[in-house]
Subunit: 456 residues, 4 copies
Amino acid sequence: MFLKKIKSEGIAHLSYILGDGLDAVVIDPRRDCGIYSKIAAQQGVRITRIFETHRNEDYVIGSEDLARRSGAAIHHGKALDFSYGEAVCEGDTFDVGDLRLRILETPGHTFESISIVVTDKNYGEDAVAVFTGDTLFIGDVGRTDFFPDQAREVAGALYDSIFGKLLPLGDQTIIYPAHGAGSACGDSMASREFSAIGHERLHNPVLQKKDRESFIDFKVNEHHYLPPYFKKMEQYNQFGSPPLHSLPQPVPMHAKDVKKAQTNGAVLLDLRSPEAYAGAFIPGSLAMPLEMISAYTGYLLDYDTDIILIPETREQIPAAVAHLIRIGYDRLAGYLKGGMHSWETEGLQYDRIGAVHAAGIGQRLQNNENLTLLDVRKISEYKQSRLAGATHIFLGELPDRIDELDPDKPIITFCGSGMRAIIAASILKQNGFTRVEDSLGSMRACKNVGCELQEG
Amino acid sequence: MFLKKIKSEGIAHLSYILGDGLDAVVIDPRRDCGIYSKIAAQQGVRITRIFETHRNEDYVIGSEDLARRSGAAIHHGKALDFSYGEAVCEGDTFDVGDLRLRILETPGHTFESISIVVTDKNYGEDAVAVFTGDTLFIGDVGRTDFFPDQAREVAGALYDSIFGKLLPLGDQTIIYPAHGAGSACGDSMASREFSAIGHERLHNPVLQKKDRESFIDFKVNEHHYLPPYFKKMEQYNQFGSPPLHSLPQPVPMHAKDVKKAQTNGAVLLDLRSPEAYAGAFIPGSLAMPLEMISAYTGYLLDYDTDIILIPETREQIPAAVAHLIRIGYDRLAGYLKGGMHSWETEGLQYDRIGAVHAAGIGQRLQNNENLTLLDVRKISEYKQSRLAGATHIFLGELPDRIDELDPDKPIITFCGSGMRAIIAASILKQNGFTRVEDSLGSMRACKNVGCELQEG
Amino acid sequence: MFLKKIKSEGIAHLSYILGDGLDAVVIDPRRDCGIYSKIAAQQGVRITRIFETHRNEDYVIGSEDLARRSGAAIHHGKALDFSYGEAVCEGDTFDVGDLRLRILETPGHTFESISIVVTDKNYGEDAVAVFTGDTLFIGDVGRTDFFPDQAREVAGALYDSIFGKLLPLGDQTIIYPAHGAGSACGDSMASREFSAIGHERLHNPVLQKKDRESFIDFKVNEHHYLPPYFKKMEQYNQFGSPPLHSLPQPVPMHAKDVKKAQTNGAVLLDLRSPEAYAGAFIPGSLAMPLEMISAYTGYLLDYDTDIILIPETREQIPAAVAHLIRIGYDRLAGYLKGGMHSWETEGLQYDRIGAVHAAGIGQRLQNNENLTLLDVRKISEYKQSRLAGATHIFLGELPDRIDELDPDKPIITFCGSGMRAIIAASILKQNGFTRVEDSLGSMRACKNVGCELQEG
Amino acid sequence: MFLKKIKSEGIAHLSYILGDGLDAVVIDPRRDCGIYSKIAAQQGVRITRIFETHRNEDYVIGSEDLARRSGAAIHHGKALDFSYGEAVCEGDTFDVGDLRLRILETPGHTFESISIVVTDKNYGEDAVAVFTGDTLFIGDVGRTDFFPDQAREVAGALYDSIFGKLLPLGDQTIIYPAHGAGSACGDSMASREFSAIGHERLHNPVLQKKDRESFIDFKVNEHHYLPPYFKKMEQYNQFGSPPLHSLPQPVPMHAKDVKKAQTNGAVLLDLRSPEAYAGAFIPGSLAMPLEMISAYTGYLLDYDTDIILIPETREQIPAAVAHLIRIGYDRLAGYLKGGMHSWETEGLQYDRIGAVHAAGIGQRLQNNENLTLLDVRKISEYKQSRLAGATHIFLGELPDRIDELDPDKPIITFCGSGMRAIIAASILKQNGFTRVEDSLGSMRACKNVGCELQEG
């Protein structure tokens, strides 16, 4: 008997493979699904069933590819019309060796959301564990903003699912959610990845709203951004996505050929750190530090263009490929071999971005320097704490709202720690802003050096 | 924040590394402790503390080696006088990033046993999880037979530790014990490796003896074997074991040199399957199928002799080495390169062992054939269900009781599935028994073919 | 600049990837071709060309699969009409960074055979190395028995290719052939895998036949077996083979289901060692020790039946799969989980095979015991040295000639070391022979114990 | 029979393990010598002998550590008094299975240099291959500048070793040298890593000086730098180095603790790329891009100080550790967890370095801007081609000659491609130069953009 959690960084996605005897099931497989087959082979089991806790909206599900490899059946909730797989209903059970899986319909995050209860046939009928999908996280609950016309209805459904179905499983029930901290599917998940129903009942902040109406009020007043790429994911996950026989392997390219491809419309996605990008970058490229791909590419990049990667080192490529194909970006044409170094030695033009220390921003604002301090964090972060005089445009909306900014004034990009600021800076540069500076360290540095902040 | 379980097959030992921020702690490290350093490096943490839940008796603890590598402090319970490390007391706390560890003294299995409660400082003071060592397992509780003079006292202490300290942590507390199914530290552990206090409270069979006296009665009437090697482990784990800079790497040997070494006193330990051993073996060798090493080597092998391995393939060597050094067998001089094939092609003598199908045993017993049916299972297994007419000698006691058997009669070795039977057969062969047959399949085959069994 | 040799055990096949700058070429890729893409990614190159030194007859070439993954062009000799790729001619050159590849047409082994000369543009025009395919091996030369009607012609062509084209490249030319010791493509290759033209000129035994006619005489008098599967390989390699998106992953099966599948016509292929097979085997199964798959499966197994593997351990499965798919056996339906142990504990019937020590054979022959001593080695081995009174039938021909043997007489199977003898024994058992014994150690043991041998 | 080349990047060091039968030998093992044991275990051999082709001066040899692990004997040339191992003499032979190794004394690079000839006992007595140490490389020959008082004598000895001993082995002899392109032991090695004596005889540029006096003249007129760390290596390799049970594992550190350690004297070694360093760096740190460690750390860092690494990502740490311990830097105290990002978010001060495009340098020089263009390449590179007006100080000598530069003038650091320039820039910053700019791309960019160059 084994249970393995597969964590996909970036989208902070948790999938699971659970096996006993000859059989195994997979919960919410990711698109690069070879890992489940590999574990199954190592453990000497065959994958017989794949469960989707709901139509995922933040990544491409790997069910169909995995089913093709393994011959497994695919199951999902009945409240949505999928073009593949079989619907399951409340109370359906599936045995995996000595384990029994039982379906709970737990709508709220989406209408077809299900949870899957695990019992051990040798040890009574009480739940040992439950796969909660995006219904209940550790320290948070699922988003309920996908159906704005039915906002109170779905929030209420979530309340009923959690308070009426999950909590009654008993405090002893270990929970295995579909996301951990860092996911776009919730702002407040714990960084701890182990918990049981009882601990959530006692300490999950949202579950302290025990009254149904208070819970609904809280949920409908939450603010979440809706990355435009979610639409694509929903379509893929309901109607099927392009099969992926093997991971795309972007080819190495010479600097000159990268330049030529850029001229012909390819997007240059620069995976390097803010410092490296600020130190020298290819004019026209989009800064996208490796760890930011999952969170922001879906706001900033179309699906119908070739992508060329500008890496710090070749070792970044496989991770970048994984992050990108998980959110459906398959047109990975190539990468700049030798990175910026090869661009520079080729004698091609590069550009740079200024840097402002936290302590310097305050100074310059106090000096009444005529500059724009552009804060690109989420509105919730901005509201909580900010520098006086900052202009707020959320990073994901910057391309659409760039006309609100004066290209001739000095502009300092600012975020939580400097990661999003460099992306914003690169977008400004793409749009002809020349006097761009990046606040390395940004808000966290401001706090540490004692800048004066406006709060609330 | 991360928690990883490291499972060491054979001894079915579970150790853990738990980290947050810059720090990590390790619970009950195994002797080949490089794996913890490797995980720490991957996660970007330093191991600052090592906890021993008790003086382990079934394997060599790796604390000192790991401390030498990492500079970590070693902690254990105060009720035993260790020659290294520092004692901790009820209520001591240790922070690892946002996690807090709290010591519970939970005597019973041993006097100095501790459990370690985990809370998440961001989510209240209720326990998230508890490392229970050998106090509470999934589906079983710790042995209490190590202090026969104080049998009721220690069983009572265990009751108090579990019912008075662990269960009160709350149903939501996930448990992380030091052993899983297959360990010599308990007969009845679940093969499932995830559970919470609440589930154990409801379904752990031993915890259903809720009355203190019933619990004690049950525990003092349990029967456990005490492998002689436990003495060595206890000594090592209290006073220190030989340091292990790198795993021993037994050298390849030609058949002729193996024979010479055998003549000079080396033990030949044959790692192959029962079928392969029965098909051809080196006279004088001890059958020890790879997966049986941890359970039976400690009964059958001295520590003061060179060991030469007879593998099926070279790939078995690293696993065999790991199993052996974990129980303190370091004198791994070499292995027969090319396995039995090279022994045979060298023209050296080999021997074989007969095989009896389950259906054939009954037949022959009914025919009143004058034979010994030697059942080498544990007494508890034997009592539960057996073939009529079987002689019972537990495998671990066979060398000492071999004089009870008639070397001139045909003898069929018998166990649960055929694994221990081949070890017994090889011991009989070593002792001059010539008419030895092995019951491949043994009791499980008997049941499946419908042999008549005596029960209870 | 890098050159990597990829050795595929079993078929003793050597393929190569050679890269410089952005580009790489692959010579004679194997079917499980992911390894070349992996190396290319690690090295930061793209595979732009694939060369086939000839239409291989002993394995399925991976060119088309690799071309699909990488976009590379496929090249082969012009003297055969392939249904894919592009023909190259004597003198064609291809640059890979600073390296230049030049085609030599080197017919003999086959008409379309080519060799590929490597020069380093920075260091003159003399050859640094040459990929010789099956034209010239280390210690041997290619087979010339595939066109029996043109035997002298092709042997002469090989002479001309080697003496007229390869040797003139100069003594300094390092050779990279398509096979090493153990291949069915030659009997006498060196176990050493590095050599240069000069060393072969001086010490390759076949190249000492410096006179064209002597060389031809020698070659036309060689005897090679032609495994029936070669026909399939030739067809695949000329007209295309089934694409392989990922390696087949045979599913684990319970003993009962294996028995059912066998009843329905599946072949049970037992991968275990001769000792293990002799110790207990499934009636009707075919013994095929893992390391013998490549050499003998192609004689003994049809392509149109499901195959179920009987492994010693699960770890054998990936190697068995690789060996089998490389020679086109893709119908790998499953494997017996838990191996023979699970068959035995299920209570199913097993059979055994007797063993005869080398010393015992002579004894029994001298005693005029009425038995068949069946020598299944190649005719060349048999002619060189044999036991008096042996009956010779080559293993590959045994199924077709089994009627020549008396099923009622005791029969001892015999080969070089005992590996092929167990396969023969299993075939005899399949055909109702009951008194079958296997000579473990066989000829090598006979020599080592000093049996009297007939030679020449 | 197997031969594996182990390439250690950075020092461009090639070591070898050669095995047959039960035995293997290792030639010139590196300090992190676990890899040889691992290969030996995989191949089923024991390492019985270790050969040092000479007392290496550019890295710490791993012979003693490897001998401790394996029990192997260590051998080296007799012309130096080593405090460990056994001397071998011209003509000594050592068998490894069917291979025979024969010692050639080949002084020149050092007096005790040996080469090791390989013959295959089954294929005559001609050499198959030769391990040439630092005597003969592919495309170059060994340095002969270590004994300036005996310059002509040692150059002549090298001539005699190559022309008198190596070339006579025959053109067919494959050569396996101790270094490849990128080593400090030669400037002109080919990037190709396979060659035979015959190809070197024909195309190695130095071997075209066939006349002894011309050869000597050429060698004594070569210029090589002698990194100060060579002294340490020579001492280690003659008298023994500190044993290395396992690789140092630098611990993660918070930014504040790194700052504290720096204050207390620790050196901060910044492993990041020139762009990243220029974008933001810790004042006082030394830039040392990962790939430059082997070549320049030995000039710039003492052995008696703690080193703290500033990495781009944690993944750089193992490579940095390997590079550093191979040249004897063992005091690896820690690394900045989270890299510069964590320094910035802590609010600590960082500094930046300007960048000048190749095209801009010419412009500014033409404008008669009062600046220093500091070229830190090797004198040989400088002499070959340079920008007019450049000041030349070799990077390795910069700390000692920094007083020659005016700290108040703008200064542009310049090298071959921009890697060494950033190191130089960081040294200038350490020394109070404030107006420092780095020529990203440097000479290669200059050539590509068509700058006017002075040559010869």
